[in-house]
């Protein structure tokens, strides 16, 4: 099976080519079947690879497909690396990807861009697989840019809306800032190690001293790339805007897979990070700040997708916190469980929006549990999972991260648990406002309410099951588990494991779990009191109660600050350069050359008199002059 790994990215690519070329001529049923079928086939191969890797003794395979670039000292083969980390990501990408493709056949069924949507989605899966499969940084970079492109195309999928196009451009440009850091990191890696293959780089790095400044620089530059792609402070503002895309896109790209590329990259480069503690501290601090910051914004949002978007930013922050404290397994574990429950929540939100006929404002919802019971139950399960309720998947992964953070630094743990409390609160606020109380929409909307078709509810149910049981692969020793995931991933993080802090004692872990559960229950109770017992509905636009509420509701005015601090000065500078340098200097030179030539030619052409005698005279004089010039 491992030899067939090239099939995994090839299948979605074939799907993309077929749908992209002939999509308009094929019926929606065929397009949906090709789109989902190729991803499902890829998932089957990925499953085979996973079990072969799990059963076998060799944990690392490099499959070389062809020699890609070879110039001078630089030689880059196009090869794939199969190890526990990449095989796990393969499963997440193709598995969740398949479910979301299936969901899209229902969700997008009335859209005229149906085939275009599936073409983009398949292309995205291809690039994402390339990103995680590559055995060197360049292939990762190609995938990295490819998923960015697909993200851009899919955010601006409804391209007739200017606001959506702007959101797409924002995502692309913000990602570009991060990509520059990533690219510089790759170049620095090549300059330092003379190679960009993972194997060569890590083997050489292992001989270097901890805290080597070059390694720290590499790690920080790579992290800048991760900041852009995984929406961390200060480059996170594109992700909430990216919700302009269709909901399945938000679920697949902006929650489950693409945004976790940064985590994959750091987990893959764990050797480099382990050797630069300063960079790790930066990662941890940025992660926890993002987790907290985004959670506070999530408290006051009224758009169902915006709440989930800020929640995604916040959860990504937890993953970076985990990476920063050396809990690589915890980060990957959280990537996995987060992919399950956040995809579920987004698809559930999509189902709600579908039922509401396009309405996304939770102030106009309420009482939906009567009408769409499947969505309601799956959404509740997803909410419990993200809140970290025992024994849902989120409990295990979040607990692992917080326990390791506690061992590393008590303050990080405290901020983390604060963020977790807010997560629970805003998620239950969302849940209660959407599904409980009285319906607050219009009459037409109330008549329109209906459960989504099977193609949409089946992925919801599958994801709900995964959200519930997904945590079982990582039951900590304190609860009598063996933590399958840690054992499975251990070859990848072998070098870093000496640095990974073991939770001191089971007692501490029990205490932390107790505190987390207690805080969660309090947060749920608080949300229940406010939004169910007292039936509070968030205030209307521009009617915020207090200054803090106003601040949070307006997302700390970060977009406005960026606008005024960066965009406007940049526009002013470019305007000034346009008027001065381009209009005056560059155009002046170009026009000057033109007018000089014109003036010269109009003057010199008068020499051509048409008088033959004059020509002959000039000719003779010239010959005489040439002959004399030869003499001397």
């Amino acid at each position: 099976m491992i030899k067939l790994v090239w099939l995994v990215p090839l299948l979605p690519l074939i799907g993309f080519v077929i749908i992209g070329l002939f999509g308009k001529k094929l019926s929606k049923g065929i397009v949906g079947t090709i789109g989902s079928g190729t991803v499902m086939a890829a998932f089957a191969v990925a499953l085979g690879i996973f079990f072969e890797l799990k059963g076998g003794t060799q944990k690392e395979f490099t499959i070389e497909l062809f020699n890609w670039i070879s110039a001078g000292k630089l030689s880059i083969p196009f090869s794939f690396l199969i190890d526990p980390l990449s095989s796990l990501f393969l499963l997440i990408i193709t598995g969740i990807g398949f479910l979301i493709h299936l969901y899209s056949t229902g969700y997008m069924s009335h859209d005229e861009g149906f085939s275009r949507f599936f073409a983009y989605l398949n292309l995205f899966i291809f690039f994402m697989l390339l990103l995680v499969l590559g055995s060197n940084y360049l292939i990762m970079f190609v995938g990295w840019e490819g998923v960015g492109l697909c993200s851009y195309l899919l955010i601006g999928f409804w391209f007739k809306n200017t606001a959506f196009n702007n959101a797409a451009k924002k995502a692309f440009i913000m990602n570009r800032i991060g990509d520059l850091g990533f690219l510089l990191g790759i170049i620095l890696i090549f300059v330092t190690f003379g190679s960009i293959g993972y194997h060569d780089v890590f083997e050489q790095a292992k001989n270097m001293a901890t805290g080597n400044p070059t390694l720290t620089a590499i790690a920080l530059l790579l992290f800048v790339g991760a900041m852009g792609k995984s929406a961390q402070l200060p480059l996170y503002t594109w992700l909430p805007d990216a919700m302009a895309g269709p909901t399945p896109v938000s679920a697949l790209i902006h929650a489950a897979t693409m945004v976790t590329a940064g985590i994959y990259m750091i987990a893959r480069s764990n050797v480099l990070y382990t050797l630069s503690p300063d960079a790790m501290n930066v990662v941890a601090v940025v992660g926890v700040c993002t987790a907290l910051f985004a959670a506070t914004i999530g408290l006051a949002q009224n758009d169902i997708k915006k709440v989930l978007a800020y929640s995604t930013v916040s959860q990504l922050g937890y993953m970076f916190l985990a990476l920063g404290v050396g809990a690589y397994t915890g980060a990957v574990f959280h990537v996995m469980t987060h992919a399950f429950f956040k995809a579920l929540l987004f698809l559930g939100a999509g189902s709600v929006i579908h039922a509401m006929g396009g309405e996304q404002d939770i102030r106009k919802m309420g009482g939906l549990k009567k009408y769409i019971s499947t969505t309601h139950i799956t959404f509740l399960l997803g909410t419990l999972a993200i809140a970290g309720c025992f024994p849902f998947s989120g409990f295990f992964s979040k607990d692992e991260i917080l326990a390791q953070a506690y061992e590393h630094n008590k303050l990080l743990w405290f901020l983390g648990i604060l963020g977790a409390a807010m997560t629970t609160f805003y998620m239950f606020r969302l849940y209660f406002l959407t599904f409980h109380g009285k319906f607050r929409g219009t009459h037409e909307q109330e008549h329109h309410l209906h459960e989504s078709p099977k193609s949409m509810t089946i992925p919801l149910i599958v994801l709900a099951i995964l959200s519930v049981v997904g945590g079982l692969v990582g039951i900590p020793a304190a609860l009598g588990g063996t933590h399958f995931l840690e054992a499975f991933l251990s070859p990848v993080f072998e070098f870093s494991s000496f640095r990974i802090v073991q939770a001191a004692s089971h007692e501490t872990e029990y205490m932390l779990m107790g505190i987390a559960t207690l805080i969660m229950i309090l947060a749920i109770y608080f949300a229940y009191t406010v939004f169910v017992k007292n039936n509070r509905v968030p205030a209307a636009e521009g009617d915020e109660t207090s200054a803090i509420h106003k601040l949070v509701y307006n997302k700390y005015w970060v977009d406005e600050i960026y606008e005024n601090l960066i965009t406007k000065p940049l526009n002013m500078i470019s305007e000034a350069f346009y008027k001065l340098i381009d209009n005056q200097v560059v155009d002046g030179i170009v026009n000057g050359v033109g007018s000089t030539v014109k003036w010269l030619s109009s003057t010199i052409r008068l020499v051509q008199t048409g008088n033959t005698g004059f020509y002959i005279f000039v000719m003779v004089i010239s010959i005489v002059l040439i002959l004399f010039s030869q003499l001397f």
Binding site: R605, L606, T609, G610, T612, V620
Partner: protein
């Protein structure tokens, strides 16, 4: 010693220079196209004469071969040139080259 070498080389040089100068001045100062044409022929033949003289003095027959080529080419050139002059005359009823000044700026 061939017949050519009866006369010293300097005399040839002098004669050719004089002939060539006559040709150049004729081209420069006459207005009649036929005269200019003849002046060109004088220049050509001045050069031909010098080639033959040097060829003989240096015992190198290449120069004389070259003269034959020049004469052949000159014959062709005369044929073309006279044909052009014929046409000019038919159109302008004159052989004055100052009439031919339409092709300017």
């Amino acid at each position: 010693m061939s017949a050519i070498q009866v006369v010293p080389i300097e005399w040839y040089l002098l004669l050719c220079t004089v002939l060539f100068t006559i040709g150049v001045l004729g081209v420069l100062f006459r207005r009649n196209a036929i005269i200019i044409f003849m002046s060109i022929e004088i220049m050509l033949n001045a050069v031909n004469l010098l080639l033959v003289a040097f060829s003989s003095y240096l015992s190198d027959s290449k120069g004389q071969v070259f003269v034959f080529f020049i004469m052949a080419v000159a014959a062709a050139e005369v044929a073309v040139g006279l044909a052009i002059l014929m046409m000019v005359y038919r159109n302008t009823k004159s052989s004055d080259i100052d009439m031919l000044n339409k092709l300017k700026w």
